[in-house]
């Protein structure tokens, strides 16, 4: 019954079905009216039996105007569709036969990707509409509908607008994430791009876009097109979920491998579908596999939630509408559960929602991972610095010990033996010459002590930073530079590592002044302030000239000092000008124990 303001109807409760094994003609069907039975569902799903399904419903124009209507079945997987209109005395007044999923849109009486036929009813006219639907070896969904012609085009335009919008977003997301992957080599981005690509292709083929507009003629794909895409999609869905949720970190390698195996299996199934002709059985298997995969992903998400992975919440939100919808669809196929028109029409748009939410999640993850990466890099750098510093220190310690303890003792013995010798000699001249040797030995002894103290101050831990430094500075000959050493504030004991590195920095600076600065005066100050130690080193030499001539060794020393300062969390500031060099080293007392000793498990496994 079509009234004056009729726009659309899903015909629920008006559709009758007759299924025949053999192909019979419309005339025969007319004679078997009593064999038809009423379909109760809004969107009926018919069996997988390669039989011929006859659909019948009556339309009566109850309005005073002539009505231009469109009879429609929004399902494009059919292999053969015939459409008949019979008048009140069962005479065929309009018939169109043998349309299929590949019939080009231009050859259809109504421009639609689906099966749509015009129906023109005069006021008070009643007609019977017969459809003959055939699909090879698979189920048929019958979203039968009746539209007012105007409304039909508005509805289609709106539907297509949103469909293309979502496909556009898929395309954009696919290209963007692929591009980002090329630049960042971040694996999730690649998986995400595969995810979006095959989602887009699955929807496009489900909606008949590929067959209708692009007229793909791959005989390999044929009826399996959608299913092949669907297998690829499942492959990416599993891989994406596995890496997005980082299941390896909490479920272990075994389950991770099982998931990868499942994904690979689905992909191989896709290859199989690609190479074999379409059958209802494979289609059914795919539905079951898809259901399994979806449950797998869902269980991964829930497990991740149990392991308190916050990112899983986002995943759950993203997949829930599609999960509900897709499960429903699969249930209708396998168990014949009823589905509604709303669900049927909203289905292509649900992945859009999922993609947006996951996209947000991915962005969030990228930022988090980047931070982790930077932290990891920082740790690595610290480890590197620490290994340089420690190797250097160990080496210096060794050399200092060799010099001091071995060579020093030997020199002292030589000195004493010479002294003995001197008193045993009666020859005055020879004795005098031996006397002249003594200061030389003493000098080498002093030099050796200075060099080894510079390498590693003796008993440093016992003597401490301030006293070792004081000893070092006051031992420097007053020519060419007179050094002043000042300590102010309450001396604080810092960890040995900090004190030793601070000592090395200062002694490096002092050596530079002594060797290169040409300064008359210099000073080293230790200002023990309330929460940090400030070391001020200054001279009145020709700082900038030294800088320009850039003595390689001192440049190396400076780099080394910067490394050491960084290592102990100190700030090193150096200013060099025509009136000398000014260095400030601020060392916080609260030494932040560095992570280098205990590498982060998270970043180490990366």
């Amino acid at each position: 019954m079509v009234g004056k303001n009729f726009s659309t109807s899903s015909l629920t409760g008006h559709v009758y079905l007759l299924t025949t094994a053999e192909n019979i003609s419309i005339d025969e069907v007319k004679r078997r009216q009593e064999d038809f039975s009423l379909l109760h569902d809004e969107i009926p799903t018919l069996g997988m039996d390669s039989r011929f399904h006859w659909i019948r419903y009556q339309v009566r124009n109850a309005s005073p105007d002539t009505k231009n209507l469109i009879a429609d079945i929004r399902y494009n997987e059919l292999n053969d569709v015939c459409f008949y209109v019979l008048d009140s005395i069962d005479q065929v007044t309009y018939s169109r036969e043998h349309f299929n999923r590949k019939t080009h849109i231009s050859k259809k009486p109504v421009h639609s990707r689906f099966f749509s036929f015009p129906l023109r009813l005069k006021p008070g006219e009643t007609v019977s509409v017969y459809w003959r639907l055939y699909r090879r070896e698979s189920f048929i969904v019958v979203p039968a509908g009746l539209f007012d012609q105007e409304y039909f085009f508005t509805f289609n335009a709106t539907y297509d607008f949103f469909l293309y919008l979502s496909l556009g977003v898929f395309t954009f997301t696919f290209l963007l994430s692929l591009l980002l992957y090329i630049f960042t080599k971040y694996r999730l981005l690649l998986l995400y791009s595969g995810y979006t690509l095959f989602y887009g292709l699955s929807i496009a083929s489900m909606e008949g876009i590929l067959t209708q507009y692009f007229h793909l003629n791959f005989s390999l794909l044929e009826d399996n097109t959608k299913n092949v895409f669907f297998c690829c999609l499942n492959f990416f869905v599993i891989l994406f979920a596995v890496h997005f949720l980082e299941i390896r970190s909490f479920l272990g390698r075994k389950i991770y491998r099982l998931c990868i195996a499942q994904a690979t299996l689905v992909l191989l199934f896709g290859v199989y579908l690609l190479l074999t002709p379409f059958t209802g059985t494979t289609s059914l298997i795919l539905s079951a596999v898809a259901m399994f995969d979806m449950l797998l992903v869902l269980s991964l998400v829930i497990t991740a939630l149990l392991y308190k992975k916050r990112i899983a919440i986002l995943y759950l939100i993203a997949m829930s509408p599609l999960f509900v919808s897709a499960s429903w669809m699969i249930l209708t196929i396998i168990f014949g559960v009823t589905r509604t028109a709303f669900f049927y029409q909203s289905f292509p748009f649900l992945p859009f929602f999922e993609m947006i939410v996951l996209g947000i999640g991915l962005g969030y993850k990228l930022i988090i991972d980047r931070n982790h990466y930077l932290i990891g890099l920082n740790t690595l750098q610290k480890q590197f610095t620490s290994s340089i510093v420690n190797t250097q220190d160990a080496e210096r310690q060794r050399i200092a010990a060799d010099l001091h303890d071995d060579l020093g003792g030997t020199l002292a013995t030589i000195r004493r033996r010479l002294w003995d010798l001197r008193f045993k000699i009666n020859n005055e001249n020879l004795a005098k010459e031996l006397d002249e040797l003594d200061p030389l030995i003493l000098k080498s002894s002093d030099d050796l002590r200075r060099i080894s103290h510079n390498l590693m101050p003796p008993e440093f831990e016992r003597i401490g930073f301030a006293n070792s430094l004081k000893q070092f500075v006051t031992e420097i000959p007053s020519q060419p530079t007179k050094f002043q050493f000042v300590v102010s504030g309450d001396v604080q004991k810092m960890p040995l590592e900090v004190e030793l590195n601070a000592y090395r920095i200062v002694s490096e600076m002092v050596q530079n002044i002594f060797k290169h600065a040409n300064a008359a005066r210099a000073s080293v100050q230790l200002l023990y302030q309330s929460d940090f130690l400030r070391v001020v080193i200054e001279d009145d030499g020709n700082g900038d000239k030294v800088e320009k001539s850039s003595v390689l060794a001192s440049g190396m020393g400076l780099k080394n000092s910067i490394l050491r300062a960084d290592y102990i969390g100190a700030s090193l500031l150096r200013e060099s000008g025509e009136a000398g060099t000014f260095v400030i080293l601020d060392i916080p007392y609260r030494y932040i124990s560095n992570d280098a000793d205990e590498p982060n498990q998270d970043t180490a496994g990366r």
Binding site: A401, D405, G409, T413, R416, F485, V536, G577, G580
Partner: protein, 213 residues
């Protein structure tokens, strides 16, 4: 210790050549004899127990063990034995520690033989012998202890800057005058205030006038 019997000296040093040289030197001295030579810290106490030396010449660096700590134990367990630290380390801090601990002397290995023998002699006479040369100049030491001197604990540059501040120069002018950066001057002023415990410029000027800067 009688004149008839020799003074027994135990040498503790892991440096073989030095240990041998020292033995030779001491044995040449009338009245002294080296009763034993120890090269490792673990052999020290058995040697003391067996040889009962009058005096021990003790190195500080004994492969990870500190000689001063060992000396401390020796004079505690054997109060009659004299201990002189004989080391390459001319560290005033170590000398001070040896003195405070109650050890009897501190000498450098490369000291003249005369000084070494003098040290041994002095210690055997019941006094202590600490090589004053190691302590450095007494003026330096005072800077650590004397509170008034510590107040004047200023560097050459800081004195220059205080003088200019006293004459009414601004930071920019001081930086110009001394060819230093503005930042350097500001840092110096902060340091000066920290050291002198001052907060105001007027206090600094007062300080400068009072101390004749």
């Amino acid at each position: 210790m009688t004149l008839t019997s020799q003074t027994r000296i135990l040498l503790v040093d892991d440096h073989h050549i030095f240990n041998e040289g020292l033995k030779r030197l001491i044995n040449e001295q009338p009245g002294y004899s080296v009763c034993g030579q120890v090269y490792q810290s673990k052999d020290i106490f058995p040697a003391i127990e067996n040889l009962r030396p009058h005096l021990i010449l003790l190195d500080v660096n004994l492969k990870g063990v500190n000689g001063i700590d060992i000396g401390k134990r020796i004079i505690k367990d054997y109060p009659a034995i004299k201990v002189i630290v004989l080391t390459m380390y001319n560290q005033s801090k170590l000398l001070e520690e040896s003195r405070k601990t109650g050890l009897h002397g501190y000498l450098l290995k490369d000291a003249t033989t005369a000084k070494l023998l003098n040290g041994i002699e002095t210690v055997l006479q019941g006094r202590s012998y600490f090589d004053e040369a190691i302590l450095g100049t007494p003026q330096q030491e005072d800077q650590f202890t004397d509170t008034f001197a510590q107040k004047l604990n200023l560097t050459f540059r800081e004195i220059e800057i205080i003088r200019l501040i006293k004459n009414g120069y601004t930071n920019e002018q001081i930086a110009d005058q001394l060819h230093l950066s503005f930042f350097t001057i500001k840092t110096h002023r902060k340091n000066i205030h920290f050291k002198l415990g001052l907060t105001k410029v007027t206090e600094l000027i007062d300080f400068a006038v009072k101390n004749g800067i």
